[in-house]
Amino acid sequence: MSKKEITILTDVSLVTCVVQRGKADDVVKAAQEVGAQGATVYYARGSGIRESLGILGLAIDVEKEAINILVANDQIDRIFEKMYLAGQLDTPGMGIMYVTPLEKAATYIPHEIVERLAKPVVGPAS
């Protein structure tokens, strides 16, 4: 039997938020203020509302930033709300966001926390 251990995080959700290029920092900051711990931002190109806005669409950048944030299920609503307001997503063309429930996640978890909180997984592994 291997001695290596993997600690699995449960009750995690993924919040994805797509905003115009340059706006991601504000949204991430807002999310971190209410408990989000980290964020991944990547560049993307999007279409949709820009076309249906006609000439006004020119004011909207085609280039987007997509933000991925993993949040604890208990915090989803608070973070979701803050990000929505920080990104001004109630304005046409500003962006879109959604939450995806995740089955599990894994990353580095400080040792003492593992000792305090981890429960053995009952399953085929052990």
Binding site: S52, L56, L58, A59, T91, P92, G93
Partner: protein, 592 residues
Amino acid sequence: MKKEIRFGDFVREVVVHQQQISYNDLAPAVEINEHGEETIEATRRYKMRSVDLYRILKPYVNIRLMEQVKAVVPLALYLVLFQVLILRQGITDSWLISGGMISVIIGLMFFMEGLKVGLMPFGESIGTTLPAKSKLPVVMIIAFILGIGVTFAEPAIGALKAAGSIVDVNQAPYLYAMLNIYANTMVLMVGIGVGLAAVLGTLRFLYGWSLKPLVYLTLVPTIALTIYFQSIPELSTILGLAWDCGAVTTGPVTVPLVLSLGIGIAAAAGKGNSSLSGFGIVMLASLFPIIAVMLLALYVSSVISPAEIITIANNTVNDNAILPWYERTPGLEVVLGIRAIVPLVLFLIFVMVVVLREKINKKLDIAFGITLCVLGMIIFNVGLSYGLAKLGGQSGGLVPSAFTHIDVVLSSPLYTFATGFFVALLFAWFLGFGATLAEPALNALGMTVQNLTNGAFRKSMLMYAVSLGVGTGISLGVVKIVFNIPIAYLLVPGYLIAAILTYFSTEEFVNIAWDSAGVTTGPVTVPLVLAMGLGFGKAVGAVEGFGILSMASIGPIIFVLLTGLYIQWRIKRRHEIEDKEPEIEHEEGLPI
């Protein structure tokens, strides 16, 4: 009184209210039509509240507006503060000038955005597809015509025409003729110069020619013509104008459009890898127009005599009583704006559709961009004559009051000649230095250069070298006007020094230095400095006030070349020390 609140109610109050809509209801339904094909019901146009419009447009406009505000306001403030604090003169027509400045800012904002949305996509797609689809001669012809087109579209070129009305026909008949009777021909000649530069610059990309021989080859005829012109008194008045034309051409339209074409051609030929391929065109585009304008002056002097020009000039002054609508203020600017942009656009569309047989994508966006461009040009032209030219002319005309007597200022000279002249020089120096340091294009060039030289030529170093060069150049230009020194006496030695320095410099620094001059002359600086020089010249009674811009071009070339040589020397010395170091260690090791 005790009050109770259920925690659940509290939470509901604090938290943002949520409503639900099923996406099933929102998404367009898929229907099957009579042919059995799936069709999607047409997307609805959203009805926008005004707050939505405001929220979309505010950040969009804000960024673009602030860019221009940063370019215009500090410069204008500097002139105004200098005039009020040092010269103790109020600003006449202050409301008109403020209005003019606002329209410069708005005009430039529209123009730049229109350029980005409407014209640049053409430039990019022509640059990438043209070399692949057409033969080299066709490409060269198109590059040539494009060079002419972009010159007419350059916003600062209007400033030259505006300057024409100030020239005194009796003192400098040929200068007057060039700026008034032959104004459009002159712009065309400048355009031909830029066109030739575009062709030659592109060939340079293709065959990887070194810039040094090109520098020598263009300098020889330019300087020879300059010396010839200087020897003939009637023609010598043209020199300042001719050399200033070179500085005017390298603005926000020419540089990106011509460069994108050149880089596209070099990339299609598989030679776009050279890190320096973007350089060189700007330098050619600022020297060729000088030759072209001098050649035109030669032609003008052969067909028309000074006496004839004076008669023509006097006649036109009499005709000025009633001008047709297209030569009066709002109409004139509209006509100028349309004439500047539309031919270029038509040519670009012609190349796209007829030569390349490419479809034009995003017609709506491009039409919008072109409209913005024309609109911006019109507003900018209005601001040019009522804001930039007026303010520049006013402060230029008042600065001499610091050291000499002029009629407008009663208490002049305000200071003793030496102090006052020093103040005026300092004013000119800081104007050039500050305006250049704030130029966004210089910042961009600095970044490129820092990357190209692997950090040997630091960004700040280049920016300071160029700004010092412009400041010194403008001060020398002021000296030229005050003491009425023929411009050739300053330019010929200046370019000779530059040529000698070029001989000793490496290819990289030659490229950077000769292009750095073109970057500094933006659409705000050019009209302001031009008008200032003319006002200055008028106040001290000089024949013509041109030449300051050309001094501002040669200054940075020399300064950047010198900085380049210093860096070369420092690198060499470091290598020498590194070579010696092992020996030193060896010696230290011996006694043990």
